[in-house]
């Protein structure tokens, strides 16, 4: 064990450089966490989902629907059977989304995948148990629907809560909370005053 460690450790005269290189790497990683608003992904705040602006239509349509009064994105879109499953699903989905978004591979109109469909259907039933008993959909899952037994909730309730079509062009002027500038306020203020002072100087010289 010690042998392997010894093997990996750099020669003594290299140590300062290695420490610096690691520091740069870790600093950059910390910066990545900061600009990507990474910590927010642990929360249930719907604002997290508009970190990626392609989610704007979904945020806006949810916000204008009756669901906005009682639910957040996560109430419908992650499993709620146990905390472990919730975060596992979130992480899995999140990494998939991040990959697509980074490679600019997102489609114009986003459609829900099979795994998500399953989760949402279960969550419809989780909250609307009483309503479901009337139309006997309690046995309906993605699987039964795929076998041609019954429909999913939103096959009929198509406007709940997002509506039929969702793309960036479907809600052209939606007002959603935009991410604020990653430059902290105190620094912004400093740089603003420097810029203002510079401007004043040039004005005076004119």
């Amino acid at each position: 064990m010690i042998k392997i460690l010894n093997y990996l450790l750099p020669p003594r005269k290299w140590v300062p450089f290695v420490i610096m290189a690691t520091g740069i790497g870790m600093g950059l990683f910390a910066y990545l966490l900061y600009v990507s608003n990474a910590v927010s992904y642990l929360s249930d705040d719907p604002k997290t989902c508009v970190n990626c602006h392609v989610m704007t239509p979904f945020y806006a349509t949810w916000q204008h629907s009756s669901h906005a009064r009682v639910t957040t994105c996560n109430d419908c879109h992650v499993p709620h059977n146990n905390a472990l499953n919730k975060y596992f699903f979130k992480a899995k989905d999140g990494i998939y989304h991040a990959t697509v978004f980074t490679w600019r591979a997102e489609p114009q109109v986003i459609h829900i995948k099979e795994a998500g469909t399953d989760v949402v259907q279960k969550n419809c039933q989780r909250c609307h148990g009483d309503l479901n008993s009337n139309v006997s959909t309690l046995g309906v899952t993605l699987e039964t629907k795929q076998h041609g037994e019954g429909k999913l909730c939103w096959d009929c309730h198509r406007e709940v809560p997002h509506g039929k079509v969702n793309s960036l062009s479907s809600v052209p002027n939606a007002q959603v909370p935009l991410l604020e500038s990653p430059v902290p306020a105190w620094l912004q203020k400093q740089t603003d005053s420097i810029a203002a002072a510079k401007k004043e100087n040039t004005n005076q010289t004119k």
Binding site: Y7, P10, P11, W14, A21, T22, I24, G25, L28, F29, Y31, L32, V35, S36, C52, H53, T56, A60, T61, Q63, H64, S65, S66, A68, R69, F101, T102, G163, V165, L168, S169, S170, V171, P172, N173, A174, Q175, P177, L178, L179, P182
Partner: protein, 488 residues
């Protein structure tokens, strides 16, 4: 390591590559964040304090077009809607209740925002000023009528704005309520543009900049659809629009505020009671109803989503939800439209019924007080009675002036009216004792006020003269204002 120096170079290379890739990733995140800022970019930049709605409309055609649909006056609900209604004609009791105040001359149901200016030109309440320093009203009357107001407040300064007369600003305030009243010109976010609401928040120890987006969807409306008065004390020569919210928003809290500063809007011409004229406490009453308590905002019902060619946007035709049940009520309530409208009407009918009862009592109280004065009652004798009349009328007006109140918060509205009925009854018992002591024992003769004209004649208004003056104003002064505005 010493035997294999190349291994060091490999490690160096790997680290460099990792940091480089990490840098690329950070850069990509930054780029995509910036992209979000450009998703909703204006095509034709809108300047700060731009008051011409058409300039904004170039960027947001759908919102703009639906806003101009507030010009539609075809819809009338049972008690409201966009149709012009002569409220004094519908209910001549109001003429007597407002005797001695301009509201007894002319009071119409507000039409759409599009008519904000046209209606304020037309109303007899603004009088017929002949020159810039003439006329009965201060510039405060413009405050809720136009996006030119924030522009002029910025130009003149807030206090200086409030020091003007209504007529002095006539050539400046020419665009009806519009975009700049509620939106920030750069970000299009909702924005509070009227100082009164910001000051009212401060007075309550709250910070309006901390309001959530959903709260803002009501607060932009609350800038105007709220109870206010003209504060002439805090700045010399200015009539500042101020909200009496310091103690809270219930009818009692606001009354306490007014009592503390010994404020009254007018002294009643018949009873001589110091009367409070409620404006339109729509926001306050909405907050006390179930929709307000559950966080439903004004915009949710009055400006719901609209779909057009697969695009969704906020319908800026601000109107009665009863004319748009499918998009407003039925988003939450899955009942039939007919049933929902019937539910609303039922609440309004019942509140209307008890409100009229209170009006009847109040009219009688005013007339009996006049009789007592005529028979030689003293100030000391009348003091308590006048206070009760003031309280009863404040409660009546609070519920009558908020058109939506009977729906927004039926329970609170009913409570306030009941309270008012009790005050009016107490006042009339007091009056009967005074009248008895002055020798009035038989039944009292009440005048015929069954129509607006009869009632106005009874309180001594010369309506032919009022109307002639207005016609003159519209023929001579108004065209000059509009002409001057066009040149700018």
């Amino acid at each position: 390591m010493k035997s294999k120096p190349w291994l060091g170079w490999v490690m160096f290379g790997v680290t460099m590559l990792a940091v480089f890739m990490l840098g690329l990733l950070v850069n990509s995140v930054m780029e995509r964040r910036t992209e979000a800022l450009f998703v909703n970019k204006t095509l034709a930049p809108v300047g700060e304090f731009e008051s011409k709605n058409e300039v904004w409309g170039a960027n947001y055609p759908r919102e703009f077009q639906t806003y101009y649909e507030t010009a539609d006056t075809t819809f009338a609900s049972k008690y409201g809607g966009g149709k012009m209604r002569d409220m004094l004609h519908d209910d001549p009791r109001m003429v007597v209740l407002w005797a001695g105040y301009a509201f007894s001359k002319d009071y119409n149901q507000g039409r759409g925002h599009f008519y904000a200016l046209e209606d304020i030109y037309n109303t007899l309440r603004t009088g017929a000023p002949k020159g810039p320093q003439d006329g009965p009203q201060p510039s405060s009357c413009w405050v809720c009528k136009s996006p030119d107001v924030p522009r002029m407040m910025d130009k003149l300064g807030i206090d200086e704005f409030y020091k003007q007369t209504w007529a002095a600003l006539g050539p400046e305030i020419v665009n009806p309520i519009g975009c700049a009243d509620c939106h920030d010109s750069k970000t299009m976010n909702l924005k509070i543009t009227r100082p009164a609401l910001i000051e009212a928040y401060k007075e309550q120890g709250k910070d309006i900049t901390k309001a959530t987006h959903n709260e803002m969807r009501s607060l932009v409306c609350a800038q105007c659809h709220a109870e206010y008065y003209f504060d002439k004390k805090s700045v010399e020569g200015a009539a500042r629009v101020k909200f009496p919210w310091k103690n809270g928003m219930t009818v009692e809290n606001m009354e306490k505020y007014y009592d503390d500063i010994e404020f009254s809007d007018f002294t009643h011409a018949l009873s001589k009671a110091p009367i409070l004229k409620a404006q339109h406490p729509d926001y306050e009453i909405h907050q006390m109803g179930i929709h307000g308590q559950r966080g439903v905002s004004c915009a949710d019902c009055h400006m719901p989503y609209k779909s057009e060619g697969g695009q969704k946007f906020t319908d800026h035709k601000i109107q009665s939800p009863l004319n748009n049940v499918a998009n407003s009520c039925q988003v939450c309530h899955r009942e039939e439209e007919k049933k929902l409208v019937a539910n609303v009407n039922e609440r309004q009918d019942k509140i209307h019924q008890i409100r009229i009862e209170l009006e009847d009592q109040l009219v009688k109280a005013h007339l009996e007080a006049k009789l007592a004065w005529d028979k030689g009652a003293t100030d000391a004798q009348m003091k308590d009675v006048l206070k009760l009349i003031r309280q009863a009328q404040w409660r009546w007006d609070f519920t009558a002036a908020s058109h939506g109140g009977s729906f927004h918060a039926p329970l609170e509205t009913a409570r306030v009216i009941t309270n008012g009925l009790n005050k009016a009854a107490e006042a009339r018992i007091g009056l009967s004792k005074i009248l008895a002591s002055l020798g009035q024992t038989g039944p009292i003769q009440y005048p015929d006020i069954s129509t607006k004209e009869k009632a106005q004649k009874f309180i001594g208004l010369d309506m032919t003269k009022e109307k002639a003056n207005k016609a003159e104003f519209k023929k001579t002064v108004l065209p000059k204002w509009l002409e001057e505005a066009k040149k700018k």
